[in-house]
């Protein structure tokens, strides 16, 4: 009897403790939930000045073999231990008050901010006319890395270029892809080298004095004419016997190795933002998907220690787009490209669990419409599912807001601009060029349709005076671009701190009325935050919220900026 009473008391105490713990947990989560509603507008900066003078960093050495293991295995395990990312996507850190990426040493707003002319698109990063083919090209060494045959040369004017050729049986495939993708990357805003198509006679290539290279046996030795001839035997020639090459001008500055897509560079004091949280790198996934550049990875990037305006700092480049579009550099894309990683644990898991009964749907499906274009198409292109060769942490961290930002850049390219970029590839078959242009345009539209609908695409917020006070007016880019029907769109809003529940916006109205009491010219009213969402009538899911910040100005409330939810 006594024992049972003691057990009863102990049980009651245990139950009370459990209730207290549960109550504490609920309070804590509720508290943190309240805290999440408070939003702070980022700075209204057009330039993130990460170009302060720094001492010269060491050259970062990398290994493409380790890059494979690191991206496919080690980084995946490390990211699995990043527990918070399972609960909430981390917002990108280099976003300004207009939800844009400020200019920096990583990225420069170009076509996304101001529509470039077709000539500018075709010119890309060019500062001159390209390599001088009027005289001999002196070979000073072989290309330092990569699987395609190539050399480092000085042209007739003494300027250094890295040149690559098309392998046999795949004429124009790699050279065309590299130039077209390079120009589009540049126009999108990324730093790229000057890349040209050039033609020269084989005898113009002469071996420079002291030129050395690593031969196929891994032995460093002087480069000879026989070596050059043996390499040229493996490359495609034009009908008139000339060689078609892609020539990349050597970047200004001192090369300091590639940059990583995760972490920061410890010897660069300007590098404050973890690369996996840079919107320009996260959004690169969308641009790379558009260009089908499956070989985006550390090895194809380069940090250059440059001197500009009396300051020396690192500028960050994308340097190799030879595997973009339909090209896998030495041959057309295989069936896997764009659908699975080289080592795709998801595919391995499915194959393991299915005991061999699983066959990827993309297996064995390659249709090469034109050999010079390789394998690229748009019919099966799904923007969200596109994959590079290796998992990239920055890509995996991409939020809907990041994807939408990049999609707007991709959508900024008009049909004439796309054709101008394709023309830079100098394809000899106009049907091949037109096919590539059509594929790129279709892929562009698919990206726009997907990301605009997913993110909601409410944009271009502005305050306008109305009969009952001010109103917040916005555009629906999904409707404007024809990706959604205006009659099917439903909008809702709430004023944070005023409304407890969402309010409907009129079906075809893109205007949010603002309470007159909050709009008083000359009053120092508190900042007004308006949250907006949109959905299609047939869908139950609302888009991620966008919070618009309004502050009093001389003529009433003014839009100070907006912030998209990081989902």
């Amino acid at each position: 009897m006594g024992v049972s009473v003691e057990n009863s008391i102990a049980g009651t105490l245990a139950l009370r403790r459990a209730c207290l713990l549960a109550f504490a947990l609920v309070c804590a989560l509720a508290g943190s939930a309240v805290e999440a509603q408070k939003k702070k507008l980022p700075k209204a900066l057009d330039v993130d000045f990460d170009m302060n003078h720094i001492p010269e960093p060491r050259e970062r050495r990398d290994s493409q073999y380790y890059d494979f293991f690191d991206s496919s295995i080690f980084e995946q395990v490390q990211q699995a231990f990043d527990l918070p990312r399972y609960f909430r996507k981390k917002a990108s850190l280099n976003v300004n008050a207009s939800d844009q990426v400020p200019d920096s040493s990583w990225f420069t707003n170009r076509n996304g901010r101001r529509s470039m002319t077709a000539e500018e698109i075709a010119r890309g990063a060019h500062t001159g006319a390209g390599p001088d083919t009027s005289g001999p090209w002196t070979i000073v060494g072989r290309k330092p890395s990569g699987i395609s045959p190539g050399f480092r040369i000085r042209d007739a004017a003494g300027v250094t270029y890295f040149v690559k050729f098309d392998p046999q049986q795949v004429h124009e495939l790699a050279t065309g892809a590299e130039v077209v993708a390079n120009q589009l990357y540049y126009a999108a805003g990324y730093n790229t080298p000057e890349t040209y198509i050039a033609r020269l006679r084989p005898e113009q290539l002469v071996v420079g004095e002291g030129a050395r290279f690593i031969d196929e046996n891994g032995i460093e030795r002087p480069l000879t004419g026989q070596d050059v001839a043996r390499i040229l035997d493996q490359v495609q020639r034009l009908p008139d016997g000339r060689l078609r090459v892609v020539a990349k001008k050597m970047l200004a500055g001192v090369p300091k190795g590639p940059f990583q897509f995760v972490g920061v560079r410890r010897d660069d004091p300007n590098d404050w933002i973890p690369h996996e949280h840079r919107r320009d790198l996260r959004g690169l996934r969308v641009v790379a998907a558009w260009l089908h550049d499956n070989d985006v990875r550390e090895r194809n990037t380069l940090d250059m220690y440059v001197t500009e305006g009396g300051r020396s700092f690192l500028r960050h480049y994308l340097i190799d787009a030879g595997s973009a579009l339909g090209s896998e550099t030495l041959f057309p894309n295989t069936d896997r490209v764009g659908f699975a990683y080289i080592l795709d644990w998801g595919e391995v898991g499915k194959a393991t669990a299915a005991l061999g009964a699983y066959q990827p749907w993309w297996h064995g499906r390659t249709q090469v419409a034109f050999p010079s274009i390789g394998y690229i198409e748009s019919g099966r292109f799904e923007p969200r599912r596109w994959k590079a060769n290796f998992p990239i942490v920055a890509f995996e961290n991409m939020s809907t807001a990041d994807g939408y930002w990049a999609a707007k850049i991709v959508m900024s390219f008009t049909d004439p601009q796309v054709r101008a970029a394709v023309a830079a590839g100098q394809y000899s078959d106009p049907r091949a060029a037109e096919y590539l242009a059509q594929v790129l345009m279709d892929r562009r539209d698919r990206i726009g349709r997907y990301w605009y609908r997913r993110a909601g695409a409410l944009d271009n917020f502005r305050a306008a005076a109305g009969p009952d006070g001010s109103a917040l007016v916005f555009d629906d880019l999904a409707v404007d671009r024809g990706f959604a029907e205006p009659a099917e769109r439903r909008y809702r809003y709430r004023l944070l701190g005023v409304h407890r529940h969402w309010q409907d916006v009129g079906q075809t109205s893109r205007s949010v009325p603002l309470h007159p009491a909050t709009v008083a010219t000359g009053q120092s009213a508190a900042e007004l935050q308006v949250e907006l969402q949109v959905r299609d009538a047939a869908e139950s899911r609302w888009s991620p919220a966008v919070t618009v910040f309004l502050r009093p100005g001389a003529s009433g409330l003014q839009v100070a900026g907006w912030l998209r939810s990081a989902e």
Binding site: A28, S32, E35, F49, L83, W272
Partner: protein, 452 residues
């Protein structure tokens, strides 16, 4: 007790709120609100160099702003969650340096060049090839196997980390092109210092493990015909002189002490074996078969060349069948029948008996687990591709030994099952991991060649 309970609530609230807030909030909210601070020294740079960052233009104008006021930092929870990873991160750094060295020094290209250089000088490095239980073997092969040449020879020399040795010489001459009619001569020396032995028969006890040393020297020849690529029939003979001694593994007893009456223990043996054998492969890819079959058969007569009555027949057959199951799946089946039949009341030296157990036969049992005059073995492997360069397998092995043919019984098969992983390269399976389980436990195998 009551005051402890009162304090517990706010402590819990504070702790939960701190953690939950860090988990739910993003890094932007975490980093803002702190007073701006100069960046700390980069770990790879001395503090003095860090202070060289010029925060103004050379003209002295204030530098423009940053989008963030200070470097972004992960929360405390992130650092805590990563603690278990620190040993792995250290290993990863070492691995990275190693792979970078391979790439920067072009070791793969140099290794291929070395192999080519050796081949041009009729040499080849060897890895493995000393059979089950011998450990990791390396060696060198001197050879001239020109496909158009009529005269071929090779001298493979191998040694393992367990001091197993095998030195061979083989020469052949083709009277007709494509080896349609050939003669061969062979000589071999083997030293296997610690062969396991558990006793004769299917009921030998695992506790009766012993070891012995086997040294043999053999010389012989063959005349035959290669009537299709890889398919041959020949008449062969060889003289083998074998000696048995105490095993070198001190952990287990000497076979002679535990099994003193074994035939062949006292004086070894001197045998002359002669007979016919045939091999017939019909595979889609001999290095990595997915379809086809391979058949082998032999019939040899063994005559003792000393006073011992070691006269017997040595005969058997084996067949491998590979059945494609559609897509990336293959069913591989193998059957082996291996018999020794004493003649005229004779016996078979115990070390010349067929055996089962180990990574090539019954994978759930130790090497050399079962010895007897007759052995039957069946293996089934279901193989499916999970990655371009890797296959998973599930296997089932069944085998038995018996002193005589009538003693073979369907109820006496020893069974093992398990799974494995195969990594493939251009020349077939390069690395094999197997895990086999039987009633005697679980065993693990690593090998550089496929089981079959």
């Amino acid at each position: 007790m009551r005051w402890k309970q009162v304090l517990t609530i706010p402590c819990l609230l504070a702790g939960m709120g701190f953690f939950a807030g860090r988990v739910v909030a993003g890094p932007q909210e975490r980093s803002e609100g702190r007073p701006p601070a100069a960046p700390g020294p980069a770990p790879s740079e001395p503090a003095s160099r860090r202070q060289e960052v010029v925060r103004t233009d050379p003209t002295g104008a204030p530098s423009p702003e940053r989008i963030l006021d200070q470097p972004a930092r992960h929360g405390a929870g992130y650092a805590v969650a990563r603690i278990p990873l620190y040993p792995l991160i250290g290993l990863g750094k070492g691995f990275e340096r190693g792979l970078r060295a391979v790439e920067e020094h072009h070791l793969i290209e140099k290794q291929a060049f070395a192999a080519k250089w050796l081949a041009e000088r009729h040499m080849q490095l060897l890895f493995g090839g000393l059979g089950t239980g011998a450990g990791m073997a390396v060696g060198i092969n001197f050879f001239d196997n020109h496909p158009e040449g009529r005269f071929r020879w090779q001298v493979p020399l191998r040694i393992s980390n367990a001091n197993y040795q095998q030195f061979e010489t083989a020469v052949s001459y083709s009277f007709l092109p494509k080896h349609r009619l050939f003669i061969e001569g062979r000589a071999r020396y083997r030293n296997r210092p610690q062969e396991d032995f558990f006793g004769l028969g299917p009921s030998s006890a695992v506790a009766g493990r012993s070891n012995f040393q086997l040294q043999d020297r053999g010389i012989g020849g063959a005349i035959g015909s290669e009537f299709a690529p890889g398919a041959r029939v020949d008449f062969s003979f060889r003289y083998v002189n074998a000696n048995v001694g105490p095993g070198r593994d001190a952990e287990y007893g000497d076979t002679a002490a535990l099994f003193p009456a074994l035939p062949g223990l006292a004086r070894g043996s001197a045998l002359l074996l002669y007979g016919v054998s045939a091999v017939y492969p019909r595979l889609d890819n001999p290095l990595d078969p997915h379809r086809g079959l391979r058949l082998r058969a032999r019939f040899l007569r063994a005559d003792s060349r000393n006073a011992d009555n070691f006269n017997f027949y040595d005969y058997g057959a084996a067949g491998d069948i590979y059945i494609p199951l559609g897509g990336p799946r293959t069913l591989a089946l193998r059957g082996i029948a291996d018999f020794r039949s004493p003649r005229n009341g004779g016996a078979v030296p115990f070390y010349a008996l067929p055996f089962l157990g180990g990574g090539s036969t019954l994978r759930g049992y130790r090497e050399f687990r079962f010895y007897d005059n007759n052995a039957l073995l069946f293996n089934a492997e279901y193989r499916w591709r999970v990655w371009k360069l890797a296959d998973l397998v599930g296997f089932f092995d069944a085998g038995q030994v018996a002193p005589s043919l009538p003693a073979l019984d369907a109820d006496r098969f020893r069974q093992s099952y398990g799974g494995g992983l195969r990594f493939r390269g251009a020349t077939g399976v390069m690395l094999r991991f197997d895990v086999g389980h039987s009633r005697e436990g679980t065993r693990y195998y690593i090998s550089f060649s496929p089981e079959f």
